[in-house]
Amino acid sequence: MNCEQCQELIHDLVDGQISQRDEFTLNTHLRECLDCDSVRQDLAAIVTFCQSHRGEYQGPPNEQALWLRIRNVIEAENGTRKPVQKESGNPSFVSRWLNHTWQLSLPQLAASTAAIILLVSLATVVGVRRWGTEGVRTAPAPLEASNTSVNDRVFQRTQAINYWNQRVEMNKARWSPEMRETFDRNMRVIDEAVTNSLNDLNRNPHDEVSEQMLNESLNDKLALLKEFSDL
């Protein structure tokens, strides 16, 4: 038995799924080969740790895919080209395709590259035509829910503002007079910006600049309240 065959069998050994004959051969090799024995000890330690801490950590959403990727990386580093799903008797089409070694000639490589460039260009053109807008594009609105109306969004923000406002009012008495004046003065300035933006939007409901300003001023108001509620 060589080291490569041995390390394949080590997994089965640690999983307790090894035949008696293989186990005997493997143990013979492990007694002679310190490297492989070290691999077995490491793997056994990892499995023991995982078993003793079972349930303490949340598994990744697709555990099998993660293990496949890990094994792929390990095997790639070891220079082996074995299929990853040895234990699975009937590997899926995707896994077979993913684990296939692609060896392309120069013309094939050139043709593949040209095809990819063509596809990307087509997708870009279609995307620009489909989603592109003319004129100036505004920055993404900090207020989510693009389908909701401006009034709905203002209402949502107002709920949060009211909450933080109550917290500020509770603490305000502790502030120095200068701090209170500063806060009130800044709040008035932001309120003015909110009012102006709302007025502009009432005049022109589809004005992107006014909508952006309204969103930002409401966010600024919320930020100011949050900052001062700590004082």
């Binding site: 120095s176 500063t182 800044n186 600049v209």
Partner: protein
């Protein structure tokens, strides 16, 4: 036994009163605390300062160490800087939770030129000078001027509600720059060959691009400008609700 004349007595009383007043004023001055501490520098120095009220001045010097000086108005205030690896952190808010009003604390921080600077205060002016690093962030929650002089950083953020913002420096390739005020003037002074993509918005239509204007800019009736200057290597966003936005050539 001689008796003092009323005039001499009144002179004596006024003198005593003046002495008392000057003594109490002296005591009040002494109530201010001064701290000055030095911290060793490293490869990637970062200064994070969270103040409540007071000025923050950050400037570079030619030493591989940080010097933090502070004038603390109230004797109740605590300032406990912490250094974790290459990062010096001062959290006035955290250090003084539950202590009530602690008055102004004015900071001066001297840093090596390649330090990242992240400073903020609820109220007060911020000034950062001669820094060349990855980050310069100056944030005033309410009112205070922000002055950033001779800055060359990959990411710059300057934001306040009331107060002017002045930036004098360079835009690095691939960098991001954000300037925002609700009521104040924003002035950006950069080299003539700067290359950046600009999004500037001011509902009051006070946007002056001067030498950086070109026909490629798109505008929405003067309230918002979007366009590239040069090859648009860096990204610049300027928003001002009721003040001017001015670009100047360095």
């Amino acid at each position: 036994m001689t008796r003092r004349s009323p005039v001499r007595a009144s002179f004596f009383a006024v003198g005593a009163l003046l002495t008392l007043v000057s003594l109490s004023a002296g005591l009040a001055v002494n109530a201010q605390q001064q701290i000055s501490k030095r911290y060793p520098g490293g490869k990637n120095i970062r200064v994070e300062l969270r103040n409540i009220s007071g000025t923050i001045v950050v400037e570079s010097w030619n030493k591989n160490e940080i010097r933090l000086s502070a004038t603390i108005e109230s004797k109740n205030a605590h300032v406990e800087p912490r250094q974790i690896n290459d990062c010096l952190m001062v959290d006035v808010m955290g250090d003084n939770r539950g202590r009530g009003d602690i008055g102004d604390i004015n900071f001066k921080v001297q840093v090596p030129p390649n330090s990242s600077v992240d400073v903020e205060t609820r109220r007060g002016n911020i000034s950062v000078a001669n820094v060349r690093s990855g980050l310069v962030r100056a944030y005033v929650s309410s009112e205070g001027d922000i002055t950033l002089t001779n800055i060359s950083a990959t990411h710059v953020v300057a934001q306040n509600v009331i107060g002017d913002i002045f930036f004098d420096g360079e835009f690095s390739s691939g960098g991001t720059y954000e300037f925002k005020s609700t009521k104040g003037n924003i002035t950006i002074r950069i080299p003539g060959d700067s290359a950046f993509r600009l999004v500037a918005a001011s509902p009051t239509k006070q946007i002056k691009l001067n030498d950086f204007w070109n026909n490629g800019f798109k505008t929405q009736d003067g309230r918002k400008y979007v366009g590239d200057v040069g090859d648009g290597r860096s990204s610049v966003s300027v928003t001002n609700f009721s003040g001017s936005i001015t670009f100047l050539r360095r």
